[in-house]
């Protein structure tokens, strides 16, 4: 009987497949039957009686264990209600003992010595039965609780990844209708006076929109590709704001092939332009420069700002919180976006880890 314990510890492992578990259980039952038969043989009973006793006791005990295990699968008592569990196990053990006794009594008739032994061994049988049923109950609770937790965790992970996809999608929808309608308005103006420029702007706008749509997936893009997309955006804004807007871009060649999430820079530059153009009335130069460090691509965007109109505290601005959130979702870090405001220059530094 004591061998059954090893079977129970295996159950708890969770790495075994269903069939393997079943095989181990059968092996354990057989081993238990044989060991019990061996004990009875030692007491001097015939081989037949020993085996019968072992088989009946252990098979009935297996049924009791199955019952309690199955029961606990669907209903688990609340935490700390051990007494209830103990009572339940005791009742099951007594039931098992009674049935066991009755069965053995009725099939092994012609041996008064065995009948006496059966009667005398009742307390020992009860406690061993209780022990094993109790153990089975404990293991079942742990097993099924773990299963439940695994299930909940799986759901949670699924929900999170869904939410993350949705959020990433939303965060990339940074293209503001404001920008689109104002650009169209500029084209309307150009059509009358400078049709060639109007045509050029339509093409730029189309390329820009196409680029935005193309980047539906989250696949990283190279810095040079992202920059090209950004330049389209800057060109359109330059047409809109005329001489007020200019841009300086610098980077070393090594940065070209570095990767970054698509459409990450656009909201930063959009923010810089808005900030620059709406906070000051003079000429606005947006500077973008990129540097490569060991495992990091660092991109700095600078714009002039007026500390009197917008205090740095409010200055983290429109789209930047979205960028920060996105970086957090993608890289699990919150320190990848920094902003500083110093002497009329607002600087946004974004760091993209390279793997």
């Amino acid at each position: 009987m004591s061998q059954r314990q090893s079977n129970n510890t295996d159950l708890n492992n969770g790495v075994l497949s269903r069939n393997k578990i079943l095989l181990v259980i059968v092996q354990c039952i057989v081993a238990s039957i044989l060991s019990q038969a061996a004990i009875l043989l030692w007491f001097g009973f015939t081989f037949q009686i020993s085996l019968l006793d072992g088989a009946v006791s252990n098979l009935l005990l297996t049924i009791a264990c199955y019952l309690i295990g199955n029961n606990l699968k669907y209903y688990r008592p609340e935490k700390n209600r051990y007494l209830l569990m103990l009572m339940y196990c005791s009742i099951l053990a007594i039931l098992w003992l009674l049935i066991n006794n009755w069965v053995l009594d009725s099939i092994i008739l012609n041996d008064p010595l065995y009948a006496e032994f059966l009667y005398n061994s009742l307390p020992i049988r009860f406690f061993i039965g209780l022990l094993i049923i109790g153990l089975m109950a404990m293991i079942s609770v742990v097993w099924y609780t773990q299963e439940d937790q695994k299930e909940t965790e799986k759901r949670k992970i699924e929900a999170e990844s869904l939410a993350r996809d949705a959020e990433l999608y939303n965060l990339r929808q940074q293209l503001q209708p404001h920008f689109l309608f104002n650009s169209l308005n500029s084209i309307t103006a150009l059509i009358g006076s400078r049709p060639e420029e109007a045509r050029k702007m339509i093409h730029q706008l189309s390329d820009f929109l196409r680029g935005t749509i193309k980047k539906e997936d989250q696949q990283p893009v190279s810095f040079i590709d992202e920059l090209e997309h950004l330049q389209l955006y800057l060109e359109i804004e330059k047409v809109r704001f005329g001489h007020r807007l200019s841009a300086e871009i610098s980077y070393n060649d090594a940065c070209k092939i570095k990767l970054l999430p698509p459409m990450l820079l656009q909201p930063i530059v959009e923010n810089a332009i808005k900030f620059g153009l709406y906070d000051t009335t003079g000429i606005v130069t947006i500077s973008i420069f990129a540097e490569c460090h060991e495992n990091e691509l660092q991109i700095t965007v600078q714009n002039p700002y007026d500390p009197d109109t917008n205090r740095p505290k409010h200055g983290t601005g429109f789209g930047l919180s979205g960028v920060k959130r996105r970086l957090h979702l993608l890289f699990g870090r919150t320190d990848l976006l920094e902003t500083t405001a110093y002497s009329h220059i607002f600087t946004t530094l974004v760091k993209i880890p390279q793997t």
């Binding site: 209708p177 309608f181 084209i187 103006a189 047409v239 906070d279 000051t280 009335t281 109109t309």
Partner: protein, 246 residues
């Protein structure tokens, strides 16, 4: 008719300019890049009608109108501002959504011409501004005019407010500024989180209060960090105690 165009995008102004050419009675007296220029131009030229963009550098279109004592008739031109559009519709002020057609533009101008005879669209503009201010959508800052200069005061810089006839005196660490608004307006604008109205004529930033002293019978004085003494009325005192958690 004298017209002023105020829009930070030169191309957007050129559209209006072009569309207005067929209206022979209209003359564009000034084109402005931002609200500051707008305030100046309106004072100088006293136009009959202005075309005004909302999103502009430094101060937006609404803030600009606030600075003008007698705002002229306005046709708003904007690309996208759901909130503003709702406000326009409620107050029957005309607006043009960029990009707009010549037909739509003509309709707006015609409507203004017709209305001018019956009512004053200026009235509507005034109501619109009140509506926009009351909704406290743009409560991050207060725009005031000091002489010919325009000062933008972030709400965070305001220490306390004192009623002064038809004006409210806004006290900041940089000095005080007058604005032609009511105390009730500011009470609503500033909210109850940072400010408390301790007196019919005073609103104080809660964090600025260092001490409350009894003063005469049934009234108190709030002493500010700057040393200013603000009277606290009988009704203001319980409010003050509440926000300070006394």
């Amino acid at each position: 008719m004298r017209v002023v165009l105020i829009d930070d995008e030169p191309l957007a102004r050129s559209v209006v300019n072009e569309y207005l050419r067929s209206w022979t009675d209209f003359e564009i007296v000034k084109e402005c890049n931002d609200g500051f220029e707008g305030v100046k131009a309106i004072a100088q030229h006293e136009p009959d009608l202005i075309f005004l963009d909302i999103q502009m550098p430094k101060i937006n279109g609404f803030e600009m109108l606030e600075l003008i004592e007698q705002p002229p008739s306005v046709i708003f031109t904007t690309a996208f501002d759901e909130y503003a559009i709702k406000a326009f519709e409620e107050h029957a002020v005309d607006y043009l959504l960029k990009p707009f057609t010549k037909e739509r533009f003509d309709k707006a101008v015609q409507k203004w011409m017709d209305q001018r005879v019956v009512t004053l669209p200026k009235q509507n503009t005034k109501q619109l501004l009140d509506h926009i201010q009351n909704s406290s959508l743009r409560n991050e800052r207060v725009v005031v005019k000091t002489g010919t200069k325009i000062k933008i005061i972030p709400v965070n810089d305001i220490l306390f407010l004192a009623a002064d006839d038809d004006y409210v005196k806004i006290h900041t660490s940089e000095g005080s500024f007058l604005k032609n608004k009511t105390m009730a307006y500011f009470e609503k604008l500033l909210g109850e989180d940072d400010f408390v109205r301790v007196h019919r004529s005073y609103i104080v930033r809660i964090n600025e209060i260092t001490r409350i002293d009894p003063y005469e019978k049934e009234s108190h004085l709030a002493i500010l960090k700057s040393g200013e003494k603000i009277p606290v009325s009988k009704t203001g005192y319980p409010k003050l105690r509440q926000v300070l958690g006394l």
